[in-house]
């Protein structure tokens, strides 16, 4: 099932104008069974299985609804700005050798995803490619690759599969961010780790007017904001197809102000800011239903996933070096090598 009628969507955006989102095959699709075969029976059996099932599409993975939502935004952008190239461009990244990748192409066609770029690296690191082609965000199930990407200045996060996935909107893209060590640097997080939550609140109130330094996902929020402004310009502020959320342990009463002031200074807007003052994030995320949620602490990532949110770990900053206060270990997901 390789052939399909030519796309009626018009010419492809040039990569320098588009917003490039790179997703690995194992987060876009559910490849658990194949991963098991690889781990238990080895490379040859894995390849044999893939080739034998080449025309059988994979079922959706945790990034699938996010990618569909990106496409929905593109459709609405094209309606309003038919000449513009400022659109999302999704690239599929896989470690697999190319002929195993045929099954991936068949799956893309089956699910009618508008992905025309892919990168099958045959076992090599994709990081060089990501850098060379101006990648705005990289999502993978492999924490090693994500770490490497962050080290090269690319916004990246390790995506986990929730046990159940809550239903999300098909027309409005919702992206939720933690604040410290995700949008902002980990400077305040360091205080929290060293001295606890109360001291953190005190410190932040005292430094309210000093902007925080930026974190790895600030750039991604920025590009979302640019697109939002394009909708506002056409009168779509109330029902904007993109909605952003800040979900932070900061408190509205004290430390929250510094976060909001920093965003304002950066010229960035966030649609909803939720200050939890240390409360768990799972329940609020279940209400918000974002397509994706970014946090630097595995405790929050797992808490969100438990309640059905597609949560991604940003392995950045002090939280990665200091043991979790709640004693939960990071999940390690091995990659196909």
């Amino acid at each position: 099932t390789v052939g399909r009628p030519g796309s009626t969507l018009g010419p492809r955006p040039k990569p320098e104008n588009s917003i490039t989102i790179a997703v690995s095959s194992r987060v876009l699709f559910n490849m658990e069974k194949e991963q098991q075969i690889f781990e238990q029976q080895g490379m040859e059996e894995y390849i044999k299985y893939q080739v034998e099932h080449e025309t059988e599409p994979f079922s959706p993975g945790p990034a699938f609804s996010f990618v569909k939502a990106l496409e929905a935004v593109n459709t609405q952008l094209r309606d309003l700005y038919p000449e513009s190239e400022e659109l999302f461009d999704v690239v599929l990244i896989t470690n697999n050798h190319a002929y195993v990748g045929l099954r991936l192409i068949n799956t893309i066609n089956h699910h009618q995803l508008f992905i025309e770029r892919f990168c099958m690296t045959g076992g090599n690191s994709p990081i060089g490619y990501l850098k060379a082609y101006n990648t705005n965000l990289y999502l993978s199930s492999d924490p090693v690759k994500v770490h490497e990407a962050l080290g090269e200045g690319i916004a990246a996060a390790t995506m986990f599969t929730p046990d159940k996935m809550t239903e999300v909107s098909e027309t409005q893209l919702r992206v939720a961010f933690d604040g410290d060590a995700v949008l902002f640097s980990d400077e305040s997080e360091q205080i929290y780790k060293a001295h606890g939550l109360d001291k953190f609140f005190e410190h932040e109130k005292a430094h309210e007017n000093k902007p925080l330094d930026h974190g790895p996902l600030k750039g991604f929020l920025e590009v979302l904001g640019k697109l939002q402004k394009k909708f506002y310009a056409k009168g779509q502020r109330m029902d904007c197809p993109i909605r952003t959320y800040l979900v932070t342990a900061r408190s509205a009463a004290s430390s929250g102000a510094r976060a909001l002031k920093t965003l304002r200074l950066w010229g960035l807007e966030i649609d909803e800011a939720l200050f939890l003052a240390g409360a768990p994030k799972g329940p609020i995320l279940e209400k918000i239903r974002p397509h994706i949620f970014f946090d630097d602490q595995m405790f929050h990532v797992e808490g969100a996933a438990e309640m059905g949110t597609v949560a991604c770990h940003v392995p950045y900053g002090i939280a990665q070096r200091v043991p979790e206060k709640k004693g939960l270990k990071d999940k390690e997901v091995s990659s196909i090598k």
């Binding site: 796309s7 190319a98 990748g101 770029r117 045959g122 076992g123 082609y133």
Partner: protein, 261 residues
């Protein structure tokens, strides 16, 4: 008049099974620079010569009586070079290059000698020479200064697929057949190694065509027995950046695009 001389320093390959690669004098040597002893300095083709030798070594490790090896010929394409035959032989032996034979021809008859020597791939730094060879049905590729910085531990072959049909490329049956035959042989060599740590790596880069065009290419190659290791579908993005990451020893495009249709 063409003369062919064997290099007695190098063990001769099996005529029927070897994959004959001809490299021009101007690619092997830096013709402008001679050192004191009238020995030519090495040119842009050095990493390629080293890597072809490496593939041969690995093939022989897998099978000590392997006959499907790369057989390298050094070919001259100008009368002036043709007349330097003894310097060329001396320089080659001085540098210990694994060149099996020398083909001393001129601009008028080098194409003929490619055919006579059953050359399956012609490598040159001269675009016109490549064009002429392709038109006569010999798959060709260009080497340039980038070739000089390629790795010498893995032969990286990149098949560049573009939507633009090149009007000057010959699409005769003979050309198509010889391109397919060359790829088939490379595919056979590739099969002798495992998925990883292979001394030969095939990559497809699809510049303008979409994923379906890349997909057809993967399938056509598979039917020729070529297992592709890496594939990059650029969706219209420029191919410069990916090529500088991949660092191919040579790009195949003319011969390859003839596989379609």
């Amino acid at each position: 008049m063409v003369s062919t001389v064997q290099n007695s320093d190098v063990k001769q390959k099996n005529e029927d099974q070897a994959v004959v690669v001809a490299v021009t004098f101007a690619a092997v040597f830096d013709a402008e620079a001679e050192d004191d002893r009238d020995v030519y300095r090495l040119g842009v083709a050095l990493p390629l010569l080293q890597v072809l030798q490496r593939v041969n070594e690995r093939l022989l490790e897998e099978n000590p009586v392997e006959h499907q090896l790369f057989d390298i010929i050094l070919i001259t394409t100008e009368t002036r070079q043709q007349q330097q035959s003894s310097s060329i032989i001396t320089s080659t032996r001085h540098h210990g290059l694994e060149v099996g034979r020398f083909c001393f021809s001129s601009e008028d008859d080098f194409i003929e000698s490619l055919a006579q020597n059953n050359v399956q791939l012609f490598l040159t730094t001269d675009g016109n020479e490549a064009l002429r060879a392709t038109q006569q049905g010999v798959p060709s590729a260009l080497l340039d200064k980038n070739s000089a910085s390629c790795p010498s531990d893995q032969l990286r072959v990149v098949l560049c697929q573009d939507a633009t049909i090149q009007p000057d490329a010959d699409s005769s049956g003979a050309s198509k057949k010889s391109a397919q035959s060359f790829l088939t042989r490379l595919g056979q060599i590739r099969q002798k190694f495992g998925m990883f740590n292979s001394p030969l790596c095939f990559t497809i880069v699809t510049s303008c065509g979409g994923k379906d065009s890349c997909c057809s290419a993967l399938k056509s190659l598979r039917s020729l027995g070529v297992s592709v290791d890496e594939a990059y579908c650029l969706g219209g993005a420029p191919r410069g950046p990916i090529l500088s990451i991949l660092r191919p020893h040579f790009l195949l495009s003319d011969g390859f695009s003839q596989l379609e249709g």
